[in-house]
Symmetry: C2
């Protein structure tokens, strides 16, 4: 198989399909989504069998436990996929929305219309649910999608692709609106991320290595999330109970998510009274504390934090800790070390809360709330295709709107420029 030729054909078909998707009406798109959800529930046994094939092959090739876990499709996961499609169908259609129409002194009326981006290339690993989530979001936002899942999930992804096509056909939409790349050849990714003519944006989902490689090699804009080195800063004016609750939830509710806190900063003024109790709470959850010398003095169990620790997204039962002068040092530390994902201040002080919100340069900034809230569902986006730590286009959780753009609309009555 000539990969370049194969991918170019996919690109051409996607571009054509994207034109039809852009003009599809809301009812039609929702019909497709509901059909797919229905087909997924109906074919549950087929999907689980396909997944079993993938799992068997993965075990033989020695995939590690964490990846096997992500690859595994359960009955519950199948139902969640179908439920997710119904949720997307229930979201308002962003496409065609018009806003901000104003008359200008020249007499023309100028506003903006929300439009699809066109063709979205999505590259992901293991999790088969991404196939359905991404397809659903792209259909609803009037885009065409080219999905390139991990080779380890190829059987399940192909089975899902069939059901997605069934739903598109039932709604009289082009099946090329969602194409699943059928080759596991890595060269296909190389083509996908450089086909400027056919692909408008790339969304990579997976480990930091994958995302860095793709973003280095892509010749197409990438919406990406590298890592989540999230901070909780406990200010001099923090309420202790809120600090305890927020730190506990931010760090311990789930260890492996990108919005989990990986570092805590605490103001020197309250460190002697608060830090030992906060540390005891963390330790009771089995969290290892790696701290600065002052932390180590106040918390005997704490280990020494290296230079690298403050840059690290552990995704594990470890947190770095630093005692700081106060707000200014906390902001400077965060802006220097964080991955610009999510940071939270715990304080009762209005002025300091306001300064933190303004000056911390991350995609989500919070006052007296757990970093774990940084999520498309929690923010009311309904679903997310990823969380962007970039600044251009989409920042933070990326939902339907992140897959759209705005064009200018000018209404005149024979107006010309003078």
């Amino acid at each position: 198989m000539n990969i370049q030729h194969y991918m170019e054909n996919i690109g051409i078909a996607a571009r054509d399909a994207s034109r039809l998707m852009a003009s599809a009406d809301t009812k039609t798109k929702n019909l497709a989504l509901k059909h797919i959800a229905h087909a997924i529930l109906r074919e549950q046994a087929t999907l689980l069998a396909a997944n079993q094939k993938d799992l068997d092959a993965a075990r033989i090739s020695g995939l590690d436990e964490a990846l096997l876990d992500r690859l595994t499709l359960t009955e519950k996961a199948v139902h969640t996929m179908a439920e997710g499609l119904h949720q997307i169908a229930n979201l308002a259609d962003p496409i065609g929305e018009m806003n901000h129409f104003k008359y200008r002194p020249s007499g023309i009326q100028v506003g903006q219309m929300r439009v699809p981006l066109g063709v979205i290339g999505i590259i992901y690993e293991a999790r088969p649910n991404v196939t359905v989530d991404a397809a659903g979001l792209c259909i609803k936002s009037g885009n065409a999608a080219i999905l390139r899942g991990g080779s380890e999930a190829i059987h399940c992804n192909q089975a899902l692709a069939k059901l997605v096509h069934e739903g598109l056909l039932a709604a009289n939409l082009p099946t090329a609106a969602v194409q699943v790349v059928e080759t596991t050849d890595r060269a296909a990714v190389g083509e996908l991320i450089t086909m400027k003519k056919y692909v408008d944006v790339i969304v990579p989902r997976g480990g930091k290595g994958l995302i860095e490689r793709i973003s280095d090699e892509a010749r197409i804009p990438v919406i990406k999330h590298l890592d989540g080195n999230c901070h909780v800063y406990i200010d001099d004016d923090a309420d202790f109970d809120k600090a305890l609750r927020i730190l506990e939830n931010s760090k311990t509710q789930r260890l492996g998510t990108c919005n989990t806190a990986e570092s805590m900063l605490i103001a020197r003024g309250v460190a002697p009274t608060m830090l030992p109790k906060l540390a005891a709470m963390l330790i009771s959850h089995g969290i290892e504390i790696r701290g600065c010398p002052e932390t180590m003095t106040l918390v005997p169990e704490a280990k020494h934090a290296s230079y690298e620790d403050y840059y690290t997204e552990y995704l594990a039962a470890i947190i770095s800790c630093k005692v700081v002068d106060g707000l200014e040092e906390a902001i400077a530390h965060i802006n220097h070390h964080s991955s610009q994902h999510t940071e939270s201040i715990v304080t009762e002080n209005y002025t300091k809360a306001r300064q933190f919100l303004r000056e911390v340069d991350s995609s989500s900034v919070m006052v007296n709330a757990s970093t774990r809230f940084a999520d498309g569902f929690e923010y009311g986006l309904g679903a997310e295709i990823g969380i962007s730590t970039d600044k251009l286009h989409a920042r933070g959780p990326v939902g339907l709107e992140g897959l759209t753009s705005l064009k200018y609309v000018v209404l005149g009555d024979g107006h010309v420029r003078t």
Copy 2:
């Protein structure tokens, strides 16, 4: 001089300055802008002398007339620069603007805050006024700018840089907020467009060759405008007087701008009656018509349009012309051939106008208005740093808002996720 080292130092200084600019208040930024405007008027003689040096050198090196024309600074241009800064000072400050705060079922309140992008790298040719316009827009939007003007304008750009620094100092803002690259070594551009760590976005302004080269080689997102192959479609239901007026203005008001019409489409139903008169108008303005066979039959003066003509941005007294079946063919032709800049339909038909607006995939779509309106001032943006034909982030004229991003703000009262 070690260019890599030199550019890295510029990048580090810009990144540091961007933090201070992000937290600068509106009054301070406006003070800097007004100071710069004042200094430019005061130093008019110095600026004209520096420009004369550039012009002398350019004549010796044999720069062509068009470039010499763009390079030339007049007294009037100096006043326009100063006036532009006052206009930017008068625009509302986009930074810190907060919107869409809503309570979520979890109890948190989620909204968005507008923030600067950070460091903007601007690469441009000849025109010294870009130095001041770009500096003004970046200052007002709380960004730091690295400006790399053409080597042919180096004396004038350096003289302007001095005045920009004077204004920044007067407002107690860091002079590194606007840095003009002082070397004419081309390697400096190579560094600028790959310094991911220090530069957040690149805005190239100039010829298509320059922009294509930069966007191919950049490792940083680029806000770019490649070309403007703009269309006017005259529908079956067009009002003839409006068609005449709009076509005349779109094509003949200025030949060399990106929003000038380069192609006209006309519905077969009205071609026999309207096209000869429209062509006569164009010919009376000295415009050459290159058309399809039907055009050539109806307009004896028309020349044959090649395959390439329909893709061409002439920037000259030429227009391509095609007779089409009607709306569907017009939309398909435009979506295939245009550069996605600006397209206008002339029609009295509501349904067709609506379909054109929805289905034409360009950064500006218009009904009964001249393509010449596609411009930041005309749209009410106050000023523009360029017109984007990309879809991600900014599309169409890019003003202050295009130099900003949105971050999520979460307000809680000790809320945690369950």
